[in-house]
């Protein structure tokens, strides 16, 4: 390979491009992958946000390792859905909100955008609520910790372009590897872990209200509507090319594997509480409780990872709102642009982030109601968001024969849609008829 980058000049314009000639095939593939990778890992790992930490840890604390198989089952589902988004983003160079607006008209466009913005805002409140909870358990006042986190998140996107944002965010994603260390430190029974990961089964105690809620919660937190909007816009902002599709697919797949492994480790940390007979209230309290058995390092690591998860979730969710709103309004909407050239895009991000942080600091804010609303709204919106995605991926006018869904894609995706609809209806039925399943736990 040549050591120095080679600079090419496009004769037709004044624009210069820089590239590198790499003659060694494996190294060329690796460098290409590393240049393209980012959106897939970020969208997947940011989905392990504060809500996910709470859900997975609760699943472990209540059911031990018995629900690990649900994570493995969600791996292909989450990949297939995001792969469609990648294809759509690379083929059109446009975001998801813009595509829904353009292809389904203003009514569905506004409906999708309103749902997304509302759900995202409520999700952001839950992220900051988790930060408040974690810093409080660390002995730091939330009235200091939350504004610092919010300002840090604003600086992150204003600090200088897409690449810097992406690199910092990838570092935050990789910090989640700490969950693997935590899972190792709490020493789960490996035989149970392997068995419960690969053999689907109903945990001891049978089918109960709590179990159904938790399984629906796991599905809802692993596949979220903002992910569709985020990754398509991210792919468009990074200007991924048709030739990058296979690498972005790999990025998305590895991101899915990473997020499922990390999510499973969160369950194992929760499992430690079950082993010691500790009652689950929230992840921060659980950190303190199991810290009594495994030491203060484990306690503070869990609290720190809660903050990291919330920060990751916040930047991704806020950006999905900014991109979507900017696309629909026709504003400049790119992290490549300075704030002077895309003021609306950045203002939406700043407004969402700071307002959500502000809500958390309001004394006696109805946080529990907001968390419940997020779960209900996410369950309500996800099937509709995926239906639009599925229809767009069958739109020959948009994608042509080359990029459109193949028959097997459609069979898989319609199966996923039917399962998601069924889970949503099950959740609704359970809310309506609380005695649908027994109430006793494991």
């Amino acid at each position: 390979m040549s050591d120095e980058p080679t600079y090419f000049q496009n004769v037709g314009s004044v624009e210069s491009i820089k590239g590198r000639v790499i003659r060694t095939p494996w190294l060329r593939h690796l460098v290409t992958f590393l240049l393209v990778a980012g959106p897939g890992l970020i969208v997947m790992e940011a989905d392990n946000d504060a809500g996910a930490v709470s859900t997975y840890v609760q699943a472990g604390a209540q059911y031990g390792t018995h629900l690990l198989w649900t994570m493995l089952l969600l791996l292909p589902i989450t990949y297939f859905i995001q792969e469609m988004v990648v294809r759509l983003g690379i083929a059109t160079g446009k975001g998801h909100a813009a595509m829904i607006y353009g292809r389904f008209g203003k009514w569905w466009g506004r409906f999708s955008l309103f749902d997304l913005l509302l759900l995202n805002f409520l999700t952001l409140v839950t992220e900051f609520a988790a930060i408040a909870l974690a810093v409080d358990h660390m002995g730091i006042s939330p009235s200091l910790g939350v504004p610092v986190a919010a300002l840090g998140l604003v600086v992150l996107v204003l600090s200088g372009g897409y690449l810097r944002w992406e690199r910092i965010t990838i570092c935050l994603c990789l910090l989640d590897l700490t969950w693997l260390v935590l899972a190792w430190l709490v020493q789960p029974n490996l035989r149970h872990v392997v068995h419960d990961s690969f053999i689907p089964h109903v945990p001891p105690g049978g089918l109960t209200n709590d179990l159904v809620f938790l399984v629906v919660g796991i599905v809802g937190t692993t596949i979220a509507p903002w992910q569709l909007f985020f990754q398509q816009s991210c792919v468009a902002d990074k200007r991924l090319r048709f030739k990058d599709l296979k690498w972005e697919r790999l990025d998305t797949f590895l991101g899915a594997v990473f997020t499922i492994v990390v999510g499973g480790c969160m369950m194992l940390v929760g499992n430690a509480a079950k082993i010691h007979g500790l009652e689950f209230v929230d992840p921060a309290k659980l950190a303190g409780d199991i810290g009594g058995f495994y030491g203060p390092i484990v306690k503070y690591a869990i609290l720190f990872m809660m903050i990291n998860s919330a920060v990751l979730g916040t930047t991704a969710v806020s950006l999905s709102s900014s991109w979507a709103y900017g696309e629909v309004r026709g504003w400049p909407h790119s992290l490549q642009l300075p704030i002077k050239k895309a003021p609306g895009f950045y203002l939406v991000y700043i407004f969402c982030t700071l307002t959500a942080a502000g809500v958390v600091l309001i004394p006696k804010a109805p946080l529990q109601l907001i968390i419940l609303s997020v779960q209900v709204l996410a369950g309500l919106i996800l099937p509709s968001a995926i239906i639009f995605l599925q229809l767009l991926l069958n739109d020959r006018q948009v994608l042509g024969e080359e990029w459109i869904n193949k028959r097997w894609n459609n069979v898989v995706n319609w199966t996923i849609i039917i399962v998601l609809f069924a889970l949503s209806l099950l959740l609704a039925a359970q809310v309506m008829v609380p005695s649908l399943f027994p109430t006793s736990g494991p």
Binding site: Y7, F8, I387, W403, A428
Partner: protein, 77 residues
């Protein structure tokens, strides 16, 4: 700009060994979507959207019932 000071060579984008970061590459022509009319409503698209409407109405109704129930309107609380 620093890149203009570097020695330049003629473009050879067909070189299979050339690796360029997507953000530094020349813009690529994407599928044309700006001037398309709204999606043609095939039977499957129509059924999907009708099902979606029915689902949203049903879920919205259930949610409203639950909220009213929690508020004690039906005398359960």
């Amino acid at each position: 700009m620093a890149s203009y000071e570097m020695p330049t060579v003629s473009i050879n984008e067909t070189d299979p060994d050339l690796v360029i970061h997507p953000l530094y590459d020349l813009p690529e022509k994407k599928r044309e979507t700006d001037h398309l009319a709204p999606m043609q409503m095939t039977l499957s698209a129509r059924i999907s959207l009708i099902t979606l409407r029915a689902y949203l109405i049903l879920m919205g109704g259930m949610l409203l019932y639950h909220v009213l129930d929690l508020a004690g309107l039906f005398g359960h609380k």
